[in-house]
């Protein structure tokens, strides 16, 4: 890293204009090294493809078009939920209430929507999402107004919401899935599963909102430096409330999707999505501190975890191994994201480059 400075560092130089140049610190580092987010996102997808190829060795069925569609369908839940989680991580927070809100959304959908017309009224969907979003609002209020750490607040609200669900349903949530959701999850359009198309459209819009809108830019700013964001005129409280509300709404919608997929709700339906949602975000290149990462990477992380899940299940490996692998992946991703690791990689690349181009 000091190589490019070598020409300027001359300890025998007399003070004068040369010294001023020196002190101005001409930044001669190469430009555009900060697109590491794109690099890491691409990297995840490469690993996905590699995993698919390897899985073929285990089961020749894997990699077929039908299998790919199944993967995308199975991954859809995690993708939607990870978007919300990703937004809270982006601003430097965390949402541990997700499993309970998924359950809330699912329970409300199954129990409530089937009480009015068999298909349920269309306005019930936004109503349920609003209820779920309210949980997010409460989370954000605790975090901003009362300075409760995000981890604690969302953990506590998750337990509270779960207890409420448990109390109200008495342990066995009743009802069935409304027709609209069943169609979404199992219908087909032009030979492709409807849910796959939905996921693709969702991904495009979601990624766009995160990286190309002023809302998204402000989230990055908040995660990068909350104090500076406030001084720059960003309304931290409003943005935090929006973010957690969105996260909860997406979790609620995931609950709806799950109800449509399995035609019913259970109280523990949200549990399998908490740790994988965090894992997908971290593996996809987002920093747990916030201010860095893309949704594209998170999508890759979600798909990768789904593929691993399918492979492990088909291998007959126990859930324990699955959990350990997901934990190991998170750890590896965290280690690789660490500044030191990247700087080391960068310095190797630069050393190789500088030997080919003479300064």
């Amino acid at each position: 890293m000091l190589n490019s400075k070598a020409s300027g560092t001359n300890s025998n130089a007399q003070p004068g204009p040369a010294a001023d140049n020196l002190a101005r610190g001409e930044d001669t580092r190469g430009a555009v090294k900060w697109q590491r987010e794109t690099v890491s996102a691409a990297g995840v997808f490469v690993v996905c493809i590699a995993a698919l190829f390897l899985s073929r060795l285990i089961n020749p069925e894997f990699g077929s078009l039908h299998q790919l569609q199944t993967i995308l369908t199975l991954a859809s839940f995690l993708i939607v939920v990870s978007y919300g989680q990703g937004l809270t991580v982006l601003i430097g927070g965390l949402d541990l209430s997700i499993p309970s809100v998924i359950t809330l959304g699912g329970v409300l959908t199954a129990a409530w929507m089937s009480t009015l017309a068999p298909g349920g009224a269309w306005w019930q969907i936004p109503a349920i999402l609003a209820v779920c979003a309210a949980v997010g609002v409460v989370n954000a209020l605790g975090i901003t107004l009362f300075r409760i750490p995000a981890f604690i607040m969302t953990l506590a609200s998750g337990i509270i919401v779960y207890s409420l669900c448990l109390g109200v349903t008495g342990g066995t949530p009743g009802g069935a899935a409304p027709a609209s959701l069943v169609t979404l999850m199992s219908g087909r359009v032009a030979g492709l599963p409807l849910v796959n198309l939905f996921v693709v459209v969702f991904c495009v819009i979601a990624a766009f909102v995160q990286s190309r809108t002023s809302f998204g830019q402000r989230l990055y700013a908040m995660g990068s430096n909350a104090v500076a964001a406030r001084i720059a005129g960003i309304r931290i409280n409003v943005m935090t409330v929006s973010t957690y509300a969105l996260s909860a709404a997406f979790a609620g919608f995931t609950g709806m999707m799950l109800v449509g997929y399995s035609n019913g709700a259970t109280l523990r339906m949200g549990d399998p999505y908490l740790l994988p949602s965090i894992a997908a975000v971290v593996i996809g290149g987002s920093s747990i501190l916030g201010g860095r990462g893309t949704f594209a990477g998170t999508i890759g992380g979600a798909i990768l975890l789904t593929i691993f899940d399918m492979v492990i299940t088909s291998l007959g490996l126990a859930q324990g191994w699955r959990t350990m692998i997901s934990g190991g992946l998170i750890l590896a991703a965290i280690l690789l994201q660490h500044e030191g690791a990247l700087d080391w990689v960068r310095s190797i690349v630069r050393r190789r480059r500088s030997t080919t181009t003479r300064i």
Binding site: F146, G167, L275, G320, I330
Partner: protein
């Protein structure tokens, strides 16, 4: 030119803002309520029952206090508890000697996990929440691999003796807790004990004062892990069987206990005694609610609320304490 602390006021203020005092008062009040509701509350068996149920949480909260004093988070507590529990349930060792070896194994597992956390956080410079999250997932998975469904059996010696009373009066598990408290009292009088508070408050100033920040951090994680191991050991004595998810329900309670006991999540303030009494208070609250006929699912609700209120309260107290000192 100089200021002297006005002894009288600052002492009173110190006691009032000391979280331990508040939680002890709370505990006493709750116990009075409890004895009012439940007839046999003041009996030895009821009390030792309560103590037995509380000890795993109390010791786990004690361990977590080390990390929170540093200003960090330790999510791996749930995983270590589960892992220790299933190991003890699938490999029961007989007799007192076996129990001792099991304890050493439990502490060893916890300390090993703590060491991994400590190295990655202190020397690797990674965020504690991320590292301990990964470790929690790993240990949880490992627990599932060792025992994939609730079952197994813990050695009789452990589950009998440690849930019994010594000399008919003193709960054996309580002695373990007192042992932990004594160890903390000793630790506070070591340089590392003082360094812990320094690093948690301002790690730059601590470094400039000559403290080895990295080593202090690492030691804190190892000690925390060791205590989780002991907690897992006591939990196994309680449940007498193994469950790969044994630790999960305790995670929130651990942090609730620490908050209730007056330790701030910002670091540098708090004590282990507070966390342990906070744990006792929470379990007592659970008992009170249960005895007064509140349905079980609402207990979770209450615990969540208590958690939030406790943190708000501690924040409020530290804010007021800081304000009154600002213009000293």
């Amino acid at each position: 030119m100089s200021t002297r602390a006005r002894p009288d006021f600052s002492f009173i203020r110190g006691v009032m803002t000391n979280g331990v005092t508040m939680v002890v008062v709370l505990y006493v009040i709750l116990y009075a309520v409890y004895s009012h509701i439940e007839a046999g509350a003041l009996s030895v068996s009821a009390f030792s029952d309560l103590v037995n149920n509380t000890i795993p949480l109390a010791i786990a909260a004690a361990g977590a206090t080390f990390v929170i004093l540093l200003g960090g988070f330790d999510l791996s507590v749930a995983g270590v508890l589960s892992l220790v529990n299933v190991v003890l349930a699938t490999h029961p060792l007989d007799g007192a000697g076996g129990a001792l070896i099991s304890l050493l194994i439990a502490v060893g597992i916890g300390a090993a996990v703590g060491l991994c956390n400590g190295i990655l956080v202190a020397y690797g410079g990674l965020q504690s929440i991320a590292v301990t999250l990964a470790m929690m997932i790993l240990t949880r998975g490992l627990a599932l691999v060792v025992l994939d469904a609730p079952g197994g059996g813990v050695s009789d010696w452990i589950s009998d003796t440690l849930t019994n009373n010594l000399w008919g009066v003193v709960p054996a598990s309580g002695l373990v807790a007192i042992g932990v408290a004594l160890l903390w009292a000793l630790f506070r009088r070591t340089d590392t004990g003082v360094a812990l508070y320094a690093v948690g408050k301002d790690q730059t100033a601590a470094a400039l004062s000559g403290i080895n920040v990295k080593r202090t951090r690492c030691i804190a994680f190892v000690l925390a892990g060791a205590l989780y191991g002991v907690a897992g050991f006591m939990l196994s004595a309680q449940t007498a069987s193994g469950d790969p998810n044994a630790g999960a329900p305790l995670m929130l309670l651990v942090f609730a206990s620490v908050a209730l006991g007056g330790t701030a999540f910002s670091g540098g303030h708090g004590s282990l005694y507070g966390s342990m009494i906070g744990a006792a208070t929470l379990m007592l609250l659970q008992k009170v609610l249960f005895s007064s006929g509140v349905q079980s699912f609402y207990i979770g609700l209450f615990q969540g609320l208590v958690m939030v209120v406790a943190v708000i309260f501690v924040n409020l107290i530290t804010y007021l304490a800081r304000r009154s000192h600002r213009h000293a």
